[in-house]
């Protein structure tokens, strides 16, 4: 406790002018076709978006995109292509060697291709450890920018939440872009 008091009293002693909080008003960018923009942004981030058409079968879309996936995790109803429910596992380490995880996101962000997820599976590892990640969102849920995005999160409570924009990537060796640094190599967002 004494360190806390020392720090706070040093702050009070040294703080001069107290600036006002600005009003966060701005004309933030908005897009005519948010869905198209979201797909473009996601593509630039190394991911892919598909728009479901009437009569499309979601399991077929997943199968088409990941024909080689044999270990598919999902706790969502209707994902018949899943081979196991990740919530049945006691230890997140057992998720290693998962080929594909199918999860649900809350909404997408047009300006950067990100999907907002909050932990809705037992182990948050699932979002990161599988080789590929499929996120399902409602096409009408896409917001223009991060200001709108954070407004949408206002009343959400979560222990872990994340904006995920495309696959895991790095450019730490000579600035050469490589997908799949530690997390998913591929990200597919299905717009329902």
């Amino acid at each position: 406790m004494s360190s806390k008091n020392d720090i706070l009293s040093a702050i009070r002693r040294h703080t001069g002018k107290r600036y006002e909080m600005p009003e966060l008003t701005l004309d933030a960018i908005a897009y005519e076709d948010k869905v198209a923009r979201f797909a473009d942004s996601l593509k630039a981030a190394g991911g892919q978006a598909v728009l479901m058409q009437p009569g499309d079968d979601i399991n077929e879309i997943i199968r088409q995109h990941f024909p080689d996936a044999t270990r598919i995790a999902s706790n969502l109803p209707g994902i018949a292509c899943a081979t196991f429910n990740p919530d049945d596992l006691d230890d997140p380490r057992e998720l290693d060697n998962t080929d594909l995880a199918v999860v649900e996101g809350h909404f997408g962000v047009a300006e950067n291709g990100a999907v907002w997820i909050t932990r809705q599976v037992k182990h948050k590892a699932l979002y990161f450890i599988s080789n590929s990640l499929v996120m399902l969102i409602d096409r009408n849920s896409i917001v223009n920018n991060m200001h709108e995005a954070y407004k949408r999160t206002e009343n959400m409570t979560y222990d872990f939440g994340a904006f995920i924009s495309g696959p895991s990537k790095t450019a730490d060796i000579e600035q050469a872009l490589v997908l799949g640094a530690h997390g998913p190599v591929g990200v597919l967002v299905i717009l329902k």
């Binding site: 703080t15 962000v109 990100a114 200001h147 924009s165």
Partner: protein, 455 residues
């Protein structure tokens, strides 16, 4: 010209090809940033807001940090306060001891670098594993970051390949970045799964919700925190932002400025400990509260560590991160070093051409170049002004105050053009070190003006 910076820069420049690559690559990142900023009509408004929010939050640290602590505690986190590096490291040590931990998996944090934490913990027998690819490469090579966002930007792929042949047994002569990255991915998987405790820094700490936000492209922070029961997050207290609405401003600026991406792959919000686990958050001062008392330099606390001032700096690009004596290089590092210890780090203030490009691109509008200029004015006060330069400016002053003598000197100046090299470039001419003298004009401007050659 005999600062430590100029000497180290001279060594960097010796490898012309590498210097050119470094310069061009960082400029490419700067160009990507321009493309991003030009795609948003509200860019300048965002910078203004970001700067104003930081001025507010850094002048209300007392109330915001307490608000953060209240909310984080309500979320189930355990909040610690560290006055300095020693306290910070001791807190981490204690948590590791409590959990009988041996291996700590870490995501990139310049704060732990600032605190010298890894060496401290290695000394206590722990194993610290850096999980960011660039940091991991540096750890294997026993080096420190040369850039705060692209830590291994100074290392060539061949060097990485050769190192990995020894460390990971990768194919001989294979230096393909995809091959090498995936070799590390495979090696790191096991480390992620078996580490005892996870540690991350924080890009933002949100006062109104008590959550911390970590931005990475690799997802290494998220992988790291997914398996151990214990997560330690540490942040310098200027990382506090009032609320999620403010986050909207910063998350739009950070990656666009730093790497030219609209956002990092992962912007992760850590709110509560996992079931049956512990979430420790360390709030670190380590000199930051002292900066509050210096109105001229208070804006350095705006910094969100995007690294853009390095990418744009003509001196940084051509001299490399190791030419600076402070652990953070480039324009922000020059300033933070001077605030830490002006006598120790004064060599860096000359590493600036005062072009002010950094001030013009900084997403939180820190007056970086202007502050460097102010530090230079104070060098004499701390006994760090260059003697040679003082003599030269003394001479200039003497001449300038005597117009007749000045004009006579000017008249004879062209004589220098014909003087043998050794007479011009010697120890008496500090200006001529590392520079070529321009040829003196045959006629001075004054003479040309008077003889009506200029109208």
């Amino acid at each position: 010209m005999s600062t430590k910076h100029s000497k180290a820069a001279a060594r960097f420049i010796e490898n012309r090809k590498q210097e050119a690559w470094h310069d061009e690559t960082l400029w490419m990142v700067r160009a990507k940033r321009d493309k991003m900023s030009h795609s948003l009509p509200e860019w300048e408004r965002l910078r203004e807001l970001a700067s104003d929010i930081k001025l507010y939050s850094n002048s209300h640290l007392d109330t915001l940090l307490e608000e953060f602590e209240r909310n984080a505690t309500a979320n189930g986190a355990i909040v610690h306060w560290a006055k300095d590096a020693a306290e910070h490291n001791a807190i981490v040590d204690e948590i590791l001891q409590q959990h009988k931990a041996h291996t700590l998996i870490k995501s990139k944090s310049m704060l732990t670098e600032e605190c010298g934490m890894n060496d401290y913990l290695f000394g206590k027998g722990y194993d610290i594993i850096e999980s960011d690819l660039g940091e991991r490469i540096l750890q294997w090579m026993k080096l420190h970051p040369s850039h705060i966002v692209m830590p291994a930007i100074h290392i060539k792929r061949q060097e990485v390949g050769e190192m990995m042949e020894r460390v990971l047994g990768t194919e001989k002569g294979n230096s393909d970045p995809t091959y090498l990255t995936h070799a590390v991915r495979k090696n790191m998987r096991e480390k992620f799964l078996t580490a005892d405790v996870a540690m991350t820094g924080a890009n933002f700490a949100v006062a109104s919700t008590g959550e911390i936000v970590v931005c990475t492209n690799e997802g290494n922070a998220d992988m790291g925190t997914s398996f151990p029961k214990v997560h330690i997050a540490t942040f310098g207290m200027e990382k506090i932002v009032p609320d999620r609405e403010s986050l909207g401003v910063f998350t739009r600026l950070l990656a666009r400025s730093g790497t030219g991406q609209p956002i990092t792959s992962y912007t992760s919000h850590y709110c509560r400990p996992k079931e049956g686990g512990e979430f420790h958050i360390i709030i670190v001062d380590n000199g930051r509260s002292d900066i509050l008392a210096r109105p001229d330099h208070i804006r350095t606390l705006n910094c969100i560590r995007c690294g853009e001032c390095m990418n744009t700096c003509p001196v940084y690009r051509r001299s490399g991160g190791y030419s600076y004596t402070y652990f953070i290089p480039g324009p922000i590092g020059i300033n933070l070093g001077m605030l830490k210890d002006p006598v120790k780090y004064s060599d860096n203030v000359s590493a600036c051409s005062l072009c002010l490009s950094c001030s013009n691109v900084c997403p939180v509008k820190i007056d970086l170049g202007e502050q460097i200029y102010r530090w230079r004015q104070d060098l004499d006060k701390i006994g760090k002004a260059s003697t040679e330069k003082k003599i030269m400016s003394g001479g200039m002053k003497f001449l300038m105050e005597r117009p007749k003598l000045f004009n006579t000197a000017l008249k004879f100046a062209p004589v220098v053009n014909k003087m043998p090299r050794f007479m011009i470039y010697n120890s008496l001419n500090a200006w001529g070190k590392g520079r070529e003298l321009p040829a003196f004009a045959k006629q001075s401007f004054n003479e040309m003006w008077k003889s009506n050659k200029i109208k």
